[in-house]
Every structure is written in structure tokens, then in C-alpha cells.
Amino acid sequence: MTVSEPEQNLELLRQRVLANLSNRTSSGLVKVRLNNLEMEQVQIYKMLENTIKFNEGKSCLVIGPRGSGKTTMVNNALLDLQERFPNMFYVIRISGFYQSDDKSAIKEIARQLDWHLLRHSGNWSVSFERFSANDTMNSVMSVLDGSQLMEGKDQNGDDDEMQMPIIFVIDELDKYTNDAKQTLLYNLFDVAQSSSNSHAVAVIGLTTVTGVREQLEKRVKSRFSQKVIQLTKPRQLAEFCDSVYCMISVDPDDFEPSMLELAQRYNSHMKTLLGGASELRKLVVRNFYTVKDLNILKSQLTPYIAKMDMTTFSGGPIPLVNTNNRSFQILASLSELELKLVICAGRQLLKNSMDQVNFNIAYEEFERISSSQTNTLNSQLQTMGRVKLDSAHHSRDLMLACWERLIYYGLLVEPIRQINGINSSFYTGGESNKMFHLDVTVEDVARLFRHTDWVTKWCRI
């Protein structure tokens, strides 16, 4: 390289890139750059802006596979709004993962409302969260629901004054559709669609399930604003590369003028790497045709950038992330006897076209093969005029111990079988008669150990 940059500048650049690669999306504190989602983000922004400005209650679903930037996009829009309307709305976030049922979700909403209230007014003698779920629900709904006809309440009230607009962000919305009543969704959508002059509520639901709208109960569906924003993975390789570039590049404006040139040089280098034949490009292409997932790519690129020689921008090794079946890794670590037992069990399954196997069957096969092998060995030895060889005999107890270890490793799986709706795990027939599923086939084993002679022999049927 022509100009040598100071060491700390290079490190700073590296840190910035690594920061981009780390998953900070869901924190919602910093804006994260997204590729190709401007239109969708504007839609979300507009909708929420309307809620804040004109009390227009709306509900909206954002559907997209993992890593497509749903949460990040919503967070970006919220950050923009926060900038433009500081302290003029509340955001309440709930997630189907953390608050797994309606009750806990309502509690969480109450808690967050309390928190906002406390921050806003410092009044902590009243709270939404109550001891009982019913009371909590009542107190939350009494605030949110402006549509209910109440006695002695003026229906056509104040015009200029309105309650703080509340924006609900529901992560993993599909989790709340599992319940038959869908209380939470019903209430939130109802509140959103009945937003009036003094109440404004917007609901944004994020989910991975494409058909989530069909999962909504008909009452809930009728109250939903029917707005669906779908995010998809990039379809073309070029688009995908752009997303990767967006992820891996840095924004030159973030840097001091002295580093501007370096940042630009880095960006253009990355662009050429992604455009032309390079290890990086190959990695991206591979990812594109198999998983097509930016998050996996992120974690693969992190060591690449961390080990990168920043003066020449030549990357470090790219590690392979093996997301595949763990059984294969277990197979590789088995002892010889255990592996033999696996093969025997697999052989029996294959020969008799069963789908379950127990220890007795596997052991029988094991005895048969090992004795036939000693026999062939002995006959060979006999032709050579030698004495008969006593092969090592493995006791049944020893093999049973191996069998149990296989169960423990998870290669042998107990079948879930229900008899009259009861899990029949109360098996009393003794350990050696219990039936199991085998998670690998003989073929798998043969392929994995194709360079080991005895395995090939044992696998031959």
C-alpha cells in the first residue's frame, strides 16, 4: 500500500466494521443501516406519524424471515420519530418469546406503562400493575380503551388535548395466535381501530409466519387494519451482495477527515472483493445458494475481519459454521464398540425394515457378525496351518453399557408413543427389550467412515 496509516486508525476502522457486524439490532438505541428497505421503513414511519399527529389508530403486520431486518426497520423508524416528536409518544414492546401468554403480556404492558408514567411525571403512588391479572387488565384497558360507552362520561370531549399516543411493538406475534381466544391481539387491535380524538394507539406486529393473517380469529381479523408489510430475502445474487456490502462497509461520514480516505479505500476494496473472484465472494455465493442468511454470514465474517490485515485488507481465514446434525459429530467420537453397536442396530433396521430396535436385536446381530468374522479369520489361519484363535469376547453387560451410553448421547431416541393420550414412558419390560429409534442410518455411517476398513466391512450387508 502506498501510504501507511497510523496503527490506531486501522484499529478504529476494524472496530467500526466489527461493530456493524455484531447484532445490535433489537436494542433500538442506534440506527442500523439496512439495504433496500427504505420504502417499507417510510411506510411504517408514515403510519406512526399519522398516529401521533392525527390520532389515526392503525395496526400493521410486518412479516419476514429471520434476519430480514424487521425489528431493525421498526426500530429505525421509531428512532426517527423520537427525533422528530421527542417525548410525544410511548413505545411498549412485548415479545412472544418472553411473555409467552396473554396474561404475562398484559402484566408487561402494565409494567412498561408504569415505567413511562414514572419517567414522565415522577408519580409512583399509582400503578397499572396490580396483584391480580384481572385488575391489571382492567386498569390497562381503562386507559387504552376510549370506545367504551360509560355513564357520565362526556363522549365528545376535548379536542386539543389527547392522551399520549402509544405504539405497541409485538415481536413474535404468532405466539399470541396460539391461544384460542387471542385476548391480547383482540384488545390491542380493537383499541387501535377505535382510536379516537383523545386516544391514539398503533400496533405493529412482527412475525416470521407468512400465513399469520389466516391464523387470526375472525373477530380479531375484522379489527385488524389489514396492512401487511412483507420483507423477503434478496432474490438475486447481486442484491444479496449489496446487502452484504451494506453490512460490511463503513459509512465514511462517521470518520474524522484524516481517516476519510482510509475508509473510502476500505469500502472500495470490499466492493471489488465482493464483485470479483475472491474467497469472500465465494463465501457469499455459497451462503446465497444454501441458507441465504445474513446473520450466519455475519458470524462467519467476524473472525475474518478480526484477523484481517488492515494495511492490505487481506482477510483472515473464513471459518465454516457447521449447522448440521450433531449426530454426525457424535458418531466421530464414539468408541469402536459403540460404533459397532450403532452399525448393528442400523443393519437390523435395514434388513428387517423395522423402524425401532432394541438392545437384544442389536446385540444378536453384533454377536453374529463378530463370530462370523472370527470364523473367517480362523479359517484363514487354518489354511495357513496355524492354531485356532480365540477372539476377544465382549460380554453382554459391557455392550449394554455401550447401548446405554448411546441413549445418553442421543443417538438412540425413545419414541414418543401415546396410548390413549398417555405418554407410555412407563415401560417396565427391562432395559434390553426397550425399543428405540436410531437417528442415523448405516449408509450415513458408511459414508462418514469410508476410509476406515473395518467399518466398511461391518456396514456391508
Binding site: 389508530g57 410511548y90 396473554d102 381501530q193 400465513g211 373477530r219 375484522s222 448440521n324 429409534h437
Partner: protein, 735 residues
Amino acid sequence: MSQKSLQGWTFELKEPENGTPRRSRRSAAAAVGQIRLTRDADRLELKKGDTVLVSSGTGPPDVALIRDIDFGTDTFLDVRVLWFMRRSEADDGVLPQDSRLENDVFLTPIAEKIRLDDIVGPCTVLSASQFAAVRLDSSNRGSTFRCQRFSDRDSYFSDLVDWDDYVSRGTEYVYQQVKELAIPPRQGSPRKKKRTDTPTRPKTPKMRSPEPMVLSDSEELDLEDLDSAYESPLEERPRRRERKRKPRAAQKSAKSSSPSKSTPRGLRKVNNSVPVLPTVIRQKFFEDDNELVIDDDDLQEVVDTDGKVVKTFRKAKEKLLPSAKLQTLPCRDQESAQLYSSLLDAILSQLGRCIYVSGTPGVGKTATIREVIKQLFVNLANDNDKKMFNYLEINGLKLMSPPAAYEALYHKISGDNVKAGAALDLLERHFETKDETRLPLVVLLDEMDQIVTKNQTVMYNFFNWPTYENSKLIVVAVANTMDLPERLLTNKISSRLGLTRIQFPGYTYAQLSEIIKHRLEKIERANENKLVISKDAIEFASRKVASVSGDARRSLVICVRALEIAEMEFLSKPQQERDELQGRYTVGIMHVMKAVNETTSTPVANYLNSLSFAAKMVLVAFLLRRKRTGSAELPLGEIIDEMNNQFGMVLFSELKRQLSHEQLEMLEVLYGDENSRLRVDGLGYIVRELDESGVIAQQQLRAERLRLVRLNVNEDEIIGCLKRDALMADLIATM
């Protein structure tokens, strides 16, 4: 502390002496006058402004200044004190040099009620000058103190103060002063998370007294500042104080039957009112009806005529939203007349009654009932000059559990909050007793099918009470299905439901367009015939919806969406074109069509198209294998085998061509560096993703190969999508 706990004490009420500085500023205290307490045992006299020693359980007794003695709300007599902090409780490091005598005490702004039993005896607190004149010996060492500073109980100490001066001006003055002086001046930091569990929370009268207090000038202290001054020290306060206080609090709550106010939990219970969200005064975005305040970034460049269009859009949208307030409900005349007459009849005859209303979602059931109730309110009040009935709304889906309906009902009747079980008993009694003055109560039981429990007790009770002679309960039950009483309820309940049933049929397309037009009527007139939505468009939207569900909400949503689409389209037009339109823009059939498509199209096709090659292969392998075996569910192992077979057999020439551009081998790309080629790279991830997106359903099993996989979307849809993919074409062609 009930009257009983006053045993051993006598009290006398002294008429307030006018003009003395002692006279309290607080009107509440002044009304009572001054109470003087005398202990029978040792003739110890207590009055406001005295200093006393108070037993603290362990250690030396605490020193306290009696702030006032008053008739209490939950105890007979409240003795409120301000605590002094002893020198031994303070941290040496922060203690000012000149206040380190053994007998130094510091007045704190922490007020608390004490029990009379805890009072040990009198003591004297003197100013610095007086203290110097007193000779300490064994008789008065434990009861004579010097006070020359105030403290916040933690690390802050005020400057030197003249105690005599303060005492002569009365306790309230002292209290106000100590509140101000004991606040560290640097407390400007933003408030942190507030602790709710603070045993010695400052009990200012502002928080406790239920009646609003008149704040005098000196009291107009910013409450916020006050809080923050107390809260941060509390967090670091030595635990000693807390421990000392606890036994007292426990004793107190054990003795008195009233809820102890010394814990936050107790305080919350007392304060049962629902908090109110803060309101924001909105900037007016539209100053008045005719002028648009341009405040949007994207409207900035929009000239006046465009602004008008945008505003018209805005107003039309507001009218069309389901939440818009309407004066009348069109197309529900028959139903509302029916409802009106039966309700009127029931109210006037003072008899209980059940009315069952059914209809699919979005046909205006709840809206109509509310409308009728409103009318009844007004009409009956006008005719009789008084309120004729009470009204309560219970929504089955807004309750966490069915029995909570009892709680809501009882709360309405008596204003008390009781648990469901008790509420049931009380309600039962309430409806049985004869009460001439009782007003009829109309209960709207929305989403009734959701309060159906297994043994249907809740339902039963709600329909049984109206049959009581004296109940005067009118239940309007609303549900979606017409035959719910026959289908879901047992005979004994459906017989009680009676025969007053009103069925809301779905709106026809004419009615739907009527509704939309009704909503837009006003704007159209105001706009001088600048028609916002064309007749055809409304017709189209109405027909579309009426053919499926007759859901008014849906047709409105579609129109709103069409408006939004048209607005977007308008704003994206070049400036010149916009000028040509002269502020007119019509929403046509095309916009509605787009909106309809948006609400009905499933995103599945879009999603399938964006899948990666390997993910599509999983689906294809599933379809191929299913075709062969004919079973709808396949174990994942078979799909894996099928995939491997296909990769071994089919050419995938298009894929290979694409990959050769990147100088990559197909198998290397798919299987990674692993030479055994058993699984496509990241297969587990791909299958999980398909599962999460709802395209397939995967059995939750530990064993990978045995998991059963089922397709969740239509097979034709998948084939249709994949056919268009060049990579898949030759595979799909064989199917």
C-alpha cells in the same frame, strides 16, 4: 392504634389561641385545635413542638420532634413526628467538624407516625448557645441534645442554623425549612429508577392526606426535587435504620386492623384509582378547517393546491376510519328499532330481561346497541327528568377470566372491588332483595361466547338473575353465531335466554356503499364536488366485501387504504402534473383494486420466490417423495435422502452455469468442505426456517431423521411458484 391503645393516656382539646406563632398554617389542624396528651403513669405531657425520645427496639432511643397530634383517619389519634438523626448514625467522614459532640442531633425532613406506646420520655433539644450553658451530668446526658444543623439522613448536612429561632416559629415552619435546607443543592441529576420498597419513605402530608391541600407560598416546593432528594440517599443508606424500623412497623400492622400504610404494597392498595396517562397538548397540525399548516417535510415543497388535496385526503380518511364518530348509523334502522322498543319496555316495566344479539364481526352490533343506549339515556331523561337506568359494558374478551365478569358487575353496583367468588355471593343477595329505589341496570355482554366456561356457571348466572323478581337486570348478550344458545349452551341456560333474539345480517353491497357514502357526504359537500372517491370505486369495494363477509370494517379499511394509495400516487407525480390537476384528485377503481388485492393476497408466493436454492430443493424433495409414497406426512430423513439422490442424478445445468461464473462446483457449494456429502450445508437451519415461516410444519423431536414434516400451504401454490424459477425448471417439469 385504636381508641383502646390510648389506654393510659388522656387527651384534652385546647381551643386554638389566635395570634400565636404556634398557630398552624394548615387549616385542617386549625379546625381541631391543639391536642394535649397526658400519660397517666408519669404525667408526661405531650403537645405539638415537644421533643420526645422514642423507643427504637434496639440501641438508644430515637429523638423526635412532634410535628402534630391529630385525630387520625385509621387510628384514633395520629402523632406525627420528625426524626432527628443521632450523631452516632452519621458517617464520620461527612460529618462537619464542629458537630461531632456526643449529643449532637440533626433534624431530618422524614416525617412518620409513631405509636404512643413507643414514647419513652421527654427530652430537650437546645440550640448551640443554650447547650453551652447547660452542664451535662448523668441525669440529663441521655435526654439533652444540641441541634445546629439539618440533615437529609445520609451525607448531606445543612449550614449552621439557629434552633431557637426555628422553634419559636412553630413546627410547620420548622418542617418546611428542614425540607428545603436538608436538600443537597447539587441534586439536579436526572432521576434514576425509583425504588418502590423504601421502608422509611418520606411521608409528607401531600402524599398521605386524601383531601387536596392548599399550598402556602413556602410549601410550593417542587415535589419532584423533593423526591429526588430523598430517593438517592435512600439507596445508599446504611441498613441499620431499616432494621430498626421494621419491628415497629410489624407491630403496628399486627395491632391495628386498618391496612398499614408503612409499606408500599399497602399504600398501593389504598390507592386503587387507575392512573391516568399524561396528555400532550398537540401542536395543531391543521390550524383550522381551511388553512393547511405545512409542517410535513414532504409537504414542504407542495404548493397550496396540493396541500388542499392532501388535506382532503386526510379528512376523508378520518371520516372513513372505523373509529370515526358518527351521528347516526345508516342501514340498521330495523334492528335498532327492535332493540329500542324491547329495552324501553324492559326499563319502563322494571322487569329483568335477556336480549340476544347475533351477527358476524363488523356488522355493527356493538355500535348499534351503544347508539340505542345513548338515545334511551337522552329520551328517558328528558321524559322523566331523572336518570332512568344504569348501564354497564362487559366484554368477554377484555376479561382475563370469565368469573371476572362478576367483579365488574359488582363493582358497577356497589363501587367495591371484591374477588369473583365473594362478588358472586353478594350479587346473588343483591338481586334477591327487594329494593324499590333501585334503577334498572342494562348490561351489555359483548363477545358472550368467551365467558362460556365448562360448566357454564357464569353464563347461567347472567341469564338467571334477570328472571328474579326484583333484579331489574337487563342483559343484552352479543355473540357471533346465531345458534350459539343451542350449540354451546345447555338447555337450562338457553331456556332462560328467552326468545328476544335480534339477528344482524351481513351488510349487502348496497348498504356498504351507503355507509361509505354516508361517511363521505359531508366532505363532498364541503369540497365543492371535488369528489374524493368515485362512485364506481365505492361500489367496487362494497361488492368485493359484501360477497365475502359483509364486514363494514373491512370495506372501510379498504377505502382508507385506497385513499392512501391514491395519496402516495399523487405525491409521487411530478410537480407539473400536480399543478395541472388543480387540486382535484379522484380515487378510482384502480386504487380500490390495489387495496383489495393487498388485503386478500397472501404473502406466501412472495416468500416462496425469495427462498434460497437449497430451501426450494427441500420443498421439491418433499413433493417428489410424497408423490411416490402418497402419504401427507414424511419423516425428514426421507426428504434428506431424496435431496441427496436428486443432487446425484439431476443435472441442474442452470445452477452449474451460474456457479461456473463464480468458479465454484455445485456439490462443493451445497455440501461445503465435508467430503461425506451427507447433508446440505445448513440443512437444519433451512428446515427450521421453513417451519417458522409456516410453510411446513415440523414435528418437535430430538431425532432429526424421524421428525415428521407436513406441508402447510397448498401444493399447487408451491409448484406454481417454483415453476417460474429457472433453477428448478427441469425438476418441476417431471412432476
